[in-house]
Amino acid sequence: MKRTDNSEKKLSRRSAWTGLLMLLVAAAMLEATTLIQFYFAEKALNKEASSKAETQLDATKNKIMDMIDQAEAAVRNSVWIAQWSLTCLDSSERVCSRIVETNPVIYGSTIALVPGYSSERPLFSPYVYKSPADTLITVSLATPEYDYPNQEWFVKPLELNQGYWSEPYVDTGGGEMLMTTYSIPIEDYSGKKAAVLTGDISLDWLSDLVSNINIYPNANTLMLSRTGKFMVSRNKEMVKGLSIEEVMAGIRDQEDFKKVERGMNSGGSGHEQVTFHDIVGHVYYAPVERTGWSMCIIIPDDDIYGANRRTRNMVQIMQLLGLILLIAIVRSLIRSQKKNRALNERKNRMENELHIASDIQMSMVPKAFPAFPERTDLDLYAAIYPAKEVGGDLYDFFIRDEKLYFCIGDVSGKGIPASLVMAVTRSSFRTVAVHESSPKSIVGNMNNSLAEMNDADMFVTFFCGVLNLASGDLKYCNAGHNPPMILTDSIRILPSEPNLPLGVMKDMDFTEQQMHFNYDDALFLYTDGLTEAENINHEQFSEERVEAALHGRKSSEEHLKNIQNKVKEFVGEAPQSDDLTMMFIHFLGKPGNDGEKCHLTLHNKVEEISLLAGFIDEIAERKNLDISLASALNLAMEEAVTNVVLYAYPKDSDGTVDIDATLGEKTVEFSISDSGTPFDPTAVPEADITLSAEERSIGGLGIHLVRNIMDSVKYERIDGKNILTMTKNI
């Protein structure tokens, strides 16, 4: 048992682990799928970011180039007139004014002479620019403070001999604007480098342009000049004119940034991933041709992948929570399964025990049928059809001294308590009925012992009968039980006094009744489980149906089975609520016929010897013996029995003498048996009855009388018993 328990436990534990493992594998697979999905999503996002950035860079570059082109064109288109103005320097200012006037992109313009080109004016540079009020203002740049011949915009174009875009600078003359200047060398008609023509453009539009680039919420766009100075950034607060080195001082040592820096400064384009104060960013950069500028868009990693990653994290958290929930559910399921199993085991065990209790209960009542196969005068059948629960029904019967002792009873209540009381009642019946021969005293004795120990206030309805099989006389006592039915020529209820049930009160007086059974009469006893059997409409089987079912000639067994079937049919689907117990006693004896038996049991007390007289009288009456014969039989029996009563058992010890009489047609046979010391009365020497009174001894007369009266006397010692058998011819 234990081993199976253990292996069962192991098995269940193993299955629990297997379940958990499978769950974990499923969770891992789900997680892997999620991760793969997110990996590809990131790749897609990355690609998207690249293309967005590149597109943006391209678009922005195109717009810048547009402006640059316009500005360059405006300046170039004025080269010829500037060339002409060299011949008439006073017109230079007008030329510049015209350039500014006709080209909205141009903020200011000047024609600056190469120093020394004109002997009259060694330094000459009239500068025309738009005032905030949109009027044209002319100032001369030919001041010693400004020193235009050393300005980049003047030096570079001459040096390179081509148009040149200056480094962006903050205009100090005008409105503190970031400016850049396109300057182009001018030759005079002789081909000599004479002047530089310039057009300034404000870079404020660039700043606006850059500000409008918002492909990602936190993306920044930077524009670097040729020398790596910040021109504009989307964030306007970003310091103008600071080098990227200065701004990114804190991250200078970062290899990533150096790459970007190098890339941008060398005028290339590309993409780098950088880490900035633990923030990962993606830098896309591209050159703006001709100007030498470089433009980059910095997108924080979070802008690209953030949403995706947050979703991923959320999904993972949800998955984790789901997994935890699932594990919890599985665990509680396993636990409740275990609990259920334990509960089921307990229930099964209880049911098992109830079955055992029921079996024990059933084994207490005689169940071997035919009950008396050797008897032709009695057909008895009894059965308990128990309800689902063990109940408190009982029946019992046995034959002693040619009398059938039988009973049927129903303990109040159900379940184990009822069955225990049933067991006690049944054993009480056996104990009492062994030496009491009247139903009244059997019932009275049982009542006393049950009432004495009845702490549970349970009672037993009980019917007890003693049927003399030789005479057909039935004595009975009904202690509150359903009266049985008697089957003679008709079927009727056996009249019975309504006594209280057993166990209610001590020392109750029970009424005994009697009737006579003739050949073929029968008695049907039952418990209320029969008459009160209910169908689904709550109708009861009732006595009428019982009576109807009892008609017809059947064996006892057939009767009972027939009734049981009828009840089953009647009850239908309704559950059996109470035990159903029935007993059918069919009397087939022929009172007064040959082979009658009489029995008497005496205790080894002298007073009981007197009981022999009644016993002999009954025999004499039955066999119609005359008085003298009866008296002689009485005498012989007394002598034989007295011997046993006085001498068979040690003084003051209890013993019994069993006396059986078999009444034959022509003989009466007596048998006296006792379990006392072995003694053969026939071995006692004959008394000499011819002696005189003086010579006569006191003893020896008894066995002499027995020998004289009886026709045969035989002594046997069988199974530790003295058995004296005597026959008298009649």
Binding site: V606, E607, I609, S610, L612, A613, I627, S628, S631, A632, N634, L635, E638, E639, T642, V645, L646, A687, I689, T690, L691, S692, A693, E694, R696, I698, G699, L701, G702, H704, L705, N708, I709
Partner: protein, 100 residues
């Protein structure tokens, strides 16, 4: 079982009433002792109301008879029924007593 004892001159009459079986014999042992004291005279055992006697009763009768024999008295058994007569016969008591 009842025994009535009457004394008249030298004659003691004991009237037995009922069945003299073994228990009854034990009951009347006292009465028998008092009868035996009169054993020098004539003792009449009146059995007209005695319906039954067993060997125990017979022994009591015998003990009276023995006492009488010792003291020179005489025992008369009167009015015995047929059944008791048969018993007396079977036991040889008819020869021991004067039966009237």
């Amino acid at each position: 079982m009842e025994v009535k004892i009457n004394k008249n001159d030298n004659i003691v009459t004991a009237e037995f009433n009922g069945r003299l079986d073994t228990p009854a014999s034990l009951e009347i042992a006292q009465d028998i002792e008092s009868i035996k004291k009169e054993a020098s005279g004539t003792i009449v055992l009146d059995c007209s109301q005695l319906s039954y006697i067993s060997s125990s009763g017979l022994r009591l009768f015998l003990s009276i008879r023995k006492a009488a024999a010792e003291k020179g008295g005489k025992v008369i058994v009167k009015n015995i029924s047929n059944e008791i007569r048969t018993v007396f016969m079977m036991t040889g008591f008819l020869n021991l007593f004067e039966i009237q």
